[in-house]
């Protein structure tokens, strides 16, 4: 008996009511959004519930949506996997753009420790309660968060790639 989308949805809605919403089947993955304030409880429930058993955290990453209203400018995306039923889900939690913060799940899934550090490193999302929230791939001295959309790809001060050296001007391209 495979785990049905409706079963997951009903169970979550019964326990968390308004905190889980926007359920949909996106291609081959069942996905929904959750209230960021309640993320630890929802993830813990998904992991420990005897029917749902999403015991494996596949992936955790951030997304920046600068076009969104301020309270939804960052998203933290969780991919979870139930190996018993071979069922994957994707959960998105939108968080505030000016002070992006969300509770850590590194006490639920050890593996999220570095994933959250990576997300902090690139997006500046503050994971509250993380045991060692510091940069992981970039150097510690860095002050910006490079995966944010406003971060330019290249150093603006570079002169070796000046368009004028390639015969391009504002008028001819």
């Amino acid at each position: 008996m495979a785990l049905e989308n409706t079963a997951i949805q009903e169970k979550l809605a019964a326990t968390f009511a308004e905190d889980v919403f926007n359920f949909q089947q996106e291609r081959d993955i069942f996905s929904f959004e959750m209230n960021a304030n309640n993320n630890t409880a929802i993830i813990l429930f998904l992991k420990n519930d005897s029917e749902l058993r999403f015991h494996f955290l596949t992936d955790l990453c951030g997304i920046h949506y600068p076009e969104n209203p301020i309270e939804k400018q960052f998203a933290v995306v969780y991919h979870m996997h139930n190996w018993y039923e071979n069922k994957r889900i994707r959960i998105k939690a939108f968080i505030n753009g000016s002070t992006p913060e969300i509770k850590t799940i590194s006490n639920i899934f050890l593996t999220s420790n570095w994933m959250e550090r990576e997300t902090y490193d690139f997006f500046g999302v503050n994971f509250i309660g993380h045991p060692q929230l510091k940069r992981i791939l970039n150097m510690d001295e860095m002050i910006s968060f490079p995966m944010r959309k406003e971060f330019p790809m290249e150093d603006g001060g570079r002169t070796d790639k000046d368009d004028r050296f390639f015969g391009r001007t504002i008028d001819n391209c």
């Binding site: 996106e26 291609r27 992936d59 920046h64 050890l110 791939l137 970039n138």
Partner: protein, 412 residues
């Protein structure tokens, strides 16, 4: 001495200051890496040591971070394969194919059976080279150089097959959306046949050299063991997880590229130690060889090597010069002006080291809105400090080799 190596506020400096052994010996700090020849890549670990025993470790990563995810947000889709090459460069075709399959899932493209089988062959070749390097380097680190030199020439043979398929060797940039860029030459199939004939003999000898070798067993059994529960908590996938006894394999769980057509076993270990990881990889090489043979046997007739998707697949060059329609398609594809639906896709493949996932968010433009690589090395390397705690320094080297942490994939 320790103050010279560490800033005084470092937690190890504090531990050393407070803790003096009963015999009056001091704990010490050792910097393993970042450029130590034995670590096969750029890994730094600050080790807190009592004599030769490791008490704690603090890894530093990111030495070859190249911001692939950021670069990918500024490139058209077909220019992202070269980035995937450079992640796990020991098995780059798997990364390439994984990326193309992600795009095909996004665009709902059905790849012809023959192209799928060709992909399976090249992916299994990549898996063989990946495991071959890992296991033979593990041999080198335990003091047996011969095995490495002996099987390494077969990696060269596989690279010659890649060369016949796509022209490149290490960073292959192989394939296109919908299949391959050209059909495989008869020479490629001939080289593959020779490889399938010669390699099993060498691999058998390699196995014989290690599997019952007293020195090798003493160095690897019960070294760096991790339980299945801990491994799953740490997000292990691939051979390192299967060595602990969990038979999770993406090829079986979510078959892609027609893996369901082939009959193969998923080898598992028991104790999750270095020796089990070695044996699981060894066994997987045999399964890969069997899959390649099956794919060659079942290969459909004809010479179809790509799907008919003119919107995404570059037309032949002579058509571009002589045919208006092909020229338009060529121009649109090269400029990246192809129709792309707005969607979120997650596609996993079984990479050399575990579940390699591509999480792709598109907004209908010519570049991904967000592309995240689920890199198995990055995820399981965080268990390394726990695995080397209490081990000897020489064991730390062996454990690192047996985990097959590839710096390119770790740092992306």
């Amino acid at each position: 001495m320790s103050e010279l190596l560490l800033p005084p506020e470092h937690r190890y400096a504090k531990i050393i200051k407070e803790q003096l052994n009963e015999d009056g010996n001091e704990l010490s700090i050792l910097n393993l890496g970042p450029t130590h020849p034995a670590t096969h890549g750029i890994f730094q670990n600050i080790l807190l040591m009592d004599g030769e025993r490791i008490l704690d470790a603090e890894p530093t990563i990111g030495y070859i971070h190249r911001a692939f995810e950021k670069i990918a947000e500024n490139r058209p889709f077909y220019q992202i394969t070269p980035l995937t090459d450079r992640m796990n460069y020991c098995s780059s075709p798997i990364n390439n194919m994984g990326w193309w399959m992600t795009l095909e899932k996004l665009l709902n493209i059905e790849v012809p059976k023959r192209a799928q089988y060709l992909r399976v062959i090249v992916m299994e070749l990549a898996r063989i080279t990946d495991h071959l390097i890992c296991n033979s380097i593990l041999g080198v680190d335990t003091g047996a150089y011969t095995g490495f030199l002996y099987v390494f020439q077969f990696r060269e043979k596989v690279y010659e097959i890649y060369e016949e398929i796509c022209g490149a060797r290490l960073t292959t940039n192989m394939g296109r959306i919908g299949g391959f860029e050209r059909d495989w030459s008869p020479e490629a199939f001939r080289k593959l046949d020779v490889f399938l004939e010669e390699f099993p003999v060498a691999w058998k000898e390699f196995e014989n050299l290690f599997e019952r070798n007293r020195i090798f067993i003493d160095r690897t059994v019960d070294v760096g063991a991790i339980s299945a529960e801990r491994a799953m908590a740490y997000g292990f996938t691939g051979p390192n997880l299967r060595a602990t006894g969990v038979d999770y394999d993406v090829r079986v769980a979510q078959p892609y590229s027609s893996y369901e057509d082939f009959d193969f076993k998923v080898p598992v270990g028991k104790s999750g130690d270095t020796y089990d990881r070695f044996c699981v990889r060894n066994a997987e090489v045999w399964e890969s060889l069997s899959i390649i043979r099956q794919a060659l046997d079942k290969m459909p007739e004809g010479n179809e090597y790509h799907a008919e998707v003119p919107d995404y697949y570059l037309p032949p060059k002579e058509d571009v010069y002589n045919n208006m329609e092909s020229l338009i398609y060529h121009f649109k594809i090269v400029m990246g002006e192809v129709p792309v639906p707005v969607a979120e896709i997650y596609h996993p493949v079984e990479g050399g080291n575990g579940e390699l996932g591509f999480y792709l968010v598109t907004d209908g433009s010519r570049t991904p809105y967000r592309l995240h690589f689920r890199r198995p090395c990055f995820i399981y390397y965080q268990a390394y400090p726990e695995m080397i705690k209490g081990a000897l320094l020489s064991d730390a080297i062996v454990i690192l080799s047996s985990l097959n942490v590839i710096a390119g994939e770790l740092d992306a």
